[in-house]
Amino acid sequence: MSAFRKTGRGRVDASKVINFTFDGKSYQGVQGDTVASALLANGNHLMGRSFKYHRPRGVLGAGWEEPNALIAVDRGKGRVTPNVRATTQEIYEGLKAESQNRSPNLKFDMGAFNNAFSMFFPAGFYNKTFMWPKSFWDKVYEPFIRNMAGLGPAPDADDPDVYASVYGHCETLIIGAGPAGIAAALAAAKNGERIILVDENAQMGGSLLSTPSIEIDGKPAGKWLETSLKALAKAENVTLMTRTTATGYYHDNFVALAERITHHVPNAEIGKVREALHRIRAGKVILAQGGIERPLVFNGNDRPGVMLASAAQTYLGEYGVAVGNEVAVFTSHDSAYQAAFDVADANTRIAAIIDVRGTIRDDLIMGATERGIKVIKSAAITKTFGKLRVKACEVYEPESGNKTKLNCDAILMSGGWTPSLHLWSHSKGGIKWDADLAAYIPDAPNENAVCIGACNGDFGIAAALSAGHKAGGGRKTYKTNETDFGTGLVLSSLPSYLDSSKQKAFVDFQNDVTEKDIKLAVSEGFKSIEHVKRYTTNGMATDQGKTSNLNALEIASKAVGKPIEKVGLTTFRPPYTPTTFGTFTGYRDNELFDPTRKTPIDPWAEANGAAFEPVGHWRRAWYFPKEGEDMHAAVARECKATRDSLGIFDASTLGKIEVVGPDAAKFMNLMYTNPWSKLPVLGCRYGLMCREDGYIYDDGVVGRMAEDRFHVTTTTGGAPRVYRHMEDYLQTEFPELDVWLTSTTEQWAVIAINGPNARKLIEPFVEGIDLSADSFPHMTLREGKICGVPTRLFRVSFTGELGFEINVPAHYGRMVWETLFEEGQKYDICPYGTETMHVLRAEKGFIIVGQDTDGTVTAHDAGMSWAVSKKKRDFVGKRSLARPDLVAEGRKQLIGLLTEDSKEVLEEGAQIVEDPNQPIPMDMLGHVTSSYWSESLGRSIAMAVVRDGFNRMGETLNIPMPDKVIKAKVVKPVFYDPKGERLNVV
């Protein structure tokens, strides 16, 4: 049993010894210890180094507010967790903890030279220096600063652990399982509604865990806690969650709970959930988050061994650990006396209670005298001694001017209490300043929520219990034997004889913000707390100011000479405590981050060695490389095979919308620039869609299945937004139309057959359709059967070859594809992917929306005025097409480009100019939108948008590249079979 472990005290199981290491040194703790309590039990207070000055630090607190004792927990490669609070990390067999932000080691840290020169690094110092010579900033200063930066180690490998996220619902969510939260749950449980009670710690009970001497309604606190938790555990409608932090409170009572599942488990298995995010929608939220004790701001208050009084009480009451052999207590609040008494009753010597106040409650004085504790009134600690651990302190009594040196190996301080309003503040609940408490407390709620107990300013266990029961719908009032929690005095600065500039009185321990830093900020004109915070970085450390915000506010308001309300309060934002990225990610990584949509034919493509490209959420076969082929070789082969004989292409990803109803044609007329009324049944037409701004939005072939039914196709990526665009207009602008939209994208697998032998291939499989050229002309469709399944057969071509697009019900898609592919061997059928599709259509000058157009191109710019009805009185985009700048001369227009060197393939996106020798910035006429090697033409081809392009036919333009200038001739963007004869092969 280690030196400072008090047998028979605390809730830990002293019989279960647990071994762990800290900075490589082996330690023993017991079941129920945290790293902090175990180290303290071994008499080790030094646990960390501060951020800026690298000052040696011990624990300040015993929980989630801890700013000093940050460690890295090492579970192996990729599983090092930085910045863990030693006060919240439960120990487990084999735990490996490392201190941070020091080198070579915690006891001797080179970085501490900052401390020696700390006088040169006041708040905001970096704004004032590192400016000259200018070049030094990049080369010397910033690298230096960055090397000093950071606390914990950066990750060295991917985190192999997995995370989860789920949704949950309840009528009442209770956050914080101290006396208030538990009492609330007990009362609320009765009405049978779903209740969730969460607590961030391993054990429920809050302050009850560390105050064993308290009796509730005559029962020992421990016993009451046990029976209460048993009762709650039994109740079916109650869910108890420990090791779970409510990290954020969002709109409409939506609360994020982060559950730590394996942080306390020895050799936690990889592949099992480490943390889970519970996204809870609650009818009512009861906040019982308690309060956090405030440090006193005095010279040397950061020496290891100096800690919050309540922390010492917790270490003793919950872990059975004494924080020292001889302890001084420094307070301005009554509550510290109870802490001192508990410590004394555990046979730890109290050097003295130093109270800033002149008058002290009699019962407290009596309690002290009974225990032989000396109380020094109207006094303050003005110095502490010791290097890595406090050895003594200097007590100063202003009235007499006496200074006495007091030996002590720990100092417990209490500057009063701060209600925890973090989640209340997330919920935008109102807050008001309470002068007696010298703290902000809840005002009007913004959500259906209530604060109870200490976080509502109701301190003391009995008060918390009763308030809790009331909030849970009960009306029980509890009685306890606790000494009155009492009141305190909040002082922005404590009496001292030292010049303030000579003092190191810390406010934000982790960020090394001292009282004088805050005064400096104010004196330099930073008068709002937001400014003070940003200028000094107070409250911006990983503890988010849980122990420093209010002290800083006090000091600032005194310095500004305005009441605290006028200086303001920095608003809290999620998360309440730092929360793992993985917890927010949940299951959504890699293949679950976003769905990868695959077509019915995708498995065949994969089995046949396709290379894929992502398009929107889809993955599409890009090209089908044969042994040793790169993309260009494969594409060249695919193009040739298709033009020579037969190509087969999976077009299933094209968006499809069934537009049905008596007003279908009317609706189509409004949605597309083309006219639709005269399109005959079983006819097809290329449709062009704008938004109200008049620019090309989407396109696709539309088939008329019946008078009142259109089969609309969209681009692959455009399908969702086109559907939204249509629904929006239909429901909000044209509700009088009798027409309905149904997305059928995935109802149909679409197989495009192109090439001279297309008809020959499908003929044997088609039933009920006469495929002959005359009875089934280009740009029409038929319904019938293919391979024994129903089909909508389109005779269309995106390649310029004789082509059919075979729509079959999706689940039959693969069967039809494989049947045709087999039969196609006769014709050396060639499967091709999107890249070949792009080349073939470019050879014909067909545009790809989003590549050849970019949201700034109109139908006229694209040379497609033919697709814009002149007769229609209205369609979406019509009015905008008449705007001055859209009809102006010299707009960028889509043209073809042929490079002078036919072997030269332009880079897509390359910019086009008239004079390549002009100075930069150059006057750019436009850019290359599509550019390929055309195997069929034996040369390169390109499309481009060029200023006034239509009037530049025959002109030679220049494309300046980094290493050369490429010349190209402007031509019509139809490179292959301009007459379109190949469509008509019989």
């Binding site: 950071g150 935008k428 500039s501 911006m540 934002r573 990225f581 992502p614 949201g855 150059m922």
Partner: protein, 416 residues
């Protein structure tokens, strides 16, 4: 007092008690030659340039809260200028030119860190779009180069370029002159330098009305601290522009959206640069303090609440972990929201308004910080000359009537 290592040393010896106020908090005078509404980086910068470059020193900056408390102090501090269109490139590159050396000019270290901004391409369409940017930037004299996935990895080691990710890295566009700066310092530095030149910085002074004379020209503003006369008023109020313009009877093509950002706990240096990914809608850098600074797109609805929804935070973090799985174990320390004003073409409006003497600088959407010095200078120029500079001339209001929009996002287009 000039800031320098020497002055720092001297003050240290006197216990840092002699530092002067950086920007005295003034009470408003009766009249000014020009008033800037909005005490963010843009507004303070405009006041500074009015005094410094255009000789108008009798200027007041009116801030409803505390200077730099708006988007200036709420953004992810990314600075870059590799925009596609000539107009945008000129505007943002003017800003980047001014950023360089601004710390020295203001004698206030802004920690402008030229660590490079890398924009990742995750599909063929991204590649085409970014290469178009690279080509256009080259001919515009804006540095921006194309990197292969391996080069991306070499430049940013924590990046995961394995092809089996859901969003594989297919390359990236890198601007080396780009980077980050210390956002608060920008506001404070401009404020301090402007005060030195005679500008009054008036905080907690909300504008509640704009007074106009018989011919409709502005003659002053009603504020919480009373009426203040001025024949020139420059509005630089970001998310609140619509509200201020309403006071002059103007309705603007603006909508205000919440924008979320977050930081991790500080860890030792690992991110050497800024990385942006449009495909997953997220961007990340590491601050001088060691925090990973992460941002994303705007919320879907307009709002002034600065309160972010959980599902967006989940998505931002998941998106970052998708391209940087190595960060999955880091922890979110702080999140916050800003209000960004967005125009129909997502490009700013900087110039004159239909009301004589009323000038505006707004609509920066999510791109405001990087433009701070440029936008400030352009607003100052326009206020001083009652006419726009050639750089901000294209960013006028009339473009929404004529249709000559500057739509970078549309040009980035959409997957086919």
């Amino acid at each position: 007092m000039k800031y320098s290592a020497i002055s720092l040393f001297a003050n240290a010896l006197s216990g840092h008690k002699k530092w002067p106020v950086q920007f005295p908090d003034k009470e408003p005078k009766k009249e000014y030659d020009a008033i800037i509404v909005g005490g963010g980086g843009h507004g303070l910068g405009a006041a500074y340039y009015l005094a410094k470059r255009y000789g108008i020193t009798n200027v007041a900056v009116l801030e409803k809260g505390w200077i730099g408390g708006g988007n200036t102090g709420r953004n992810t501090t990314i600075i870059r200028s590799n925009y596609l269109f000539d107009e945008s490139a000129a505007m943002y590159d003017h800003a980047v030119d001014l950023w360089d050396g601004l710390g020295q000019e203001l004698n206030y270290n802004l920690m402008f860190s030229k660590r490079g901004v890398l924009m990742l391409a995750h599909n063929v369409h991204d590649v085409q779009s970014f290469q178009r940017h690279v080509h256009a930037n080259r001919l515009n004299g804006v540095d921006n180069k194309w990197l292969s996935p391996e080069e991306c990895k070499a430049f940013c080691p924590p990046l995961d370029i394995s092809p089996h990710r859901r969003y594989p890295v297919m390359g990236g566009a890198l601007q080396m002159r780009a980077g980050t700066a210390r956002h608060d310092s920008v506001a404070w530095g401009y404020a301090r330098a402007a005060s030195k030149l005679g500008v009054d910085i008036i905080q907690n002074c909300k504008v509640i009305g704009i007074r106009r004379d018989a011919d409709g020209a502005v003659e002053g503003v009603e504020t919480e601290k009373g009426y203040i006369a001025s024949k020139k008023i420059g509005v630089s109020a970001a998310g609140n522009t619509s509200v201020v313009m309403e006071m002059a009877g103007l309705r603007f093509p603006l909508e205000s959206y919440p924008l979320q950002a977050l930081v991790s706990e500080p860890v030792k240096p690992i991110m050497p640069c800024v990385v942006m990914s449009n495909a997953v809608h997220a961007y990340i850098s590491q601050s001088d303090k060691g925090e990973l600074v992460i941002g994303a797109g705007t919320d879907q609805y307009t709002s002034y609440s600065q309160r972010g929804p959980l599902h967006l935070q989940e998505h931002n973090v998941a998106a970052i972990c998708e391209i940087f799985p190595i960060f999955k174990r880091q922890r979110m320390l702080r999140s916050w929201g800003g209000i960004v004003d967005v125009t129909p073409d997502r490009s700013p409006i900087v110039g004159k308004t239909p009301v004589k003497g009323l000038y505006v600088n707004c609509g920066w959407g999510t791109g405001g910080f990087k433009a701070t010095p440029g936008a400030a200078d352009m607003l100052a120029y326009t206020v001083a000359h009652d006419a726009p500079h050639k750089i901000n001339a294209p960013f006028n209001l009339d473009r929404f009537v004529g249709g000559r929009l500057i739509d970078e996002a549309a040009a980035a287009a959409v997957a086919h």
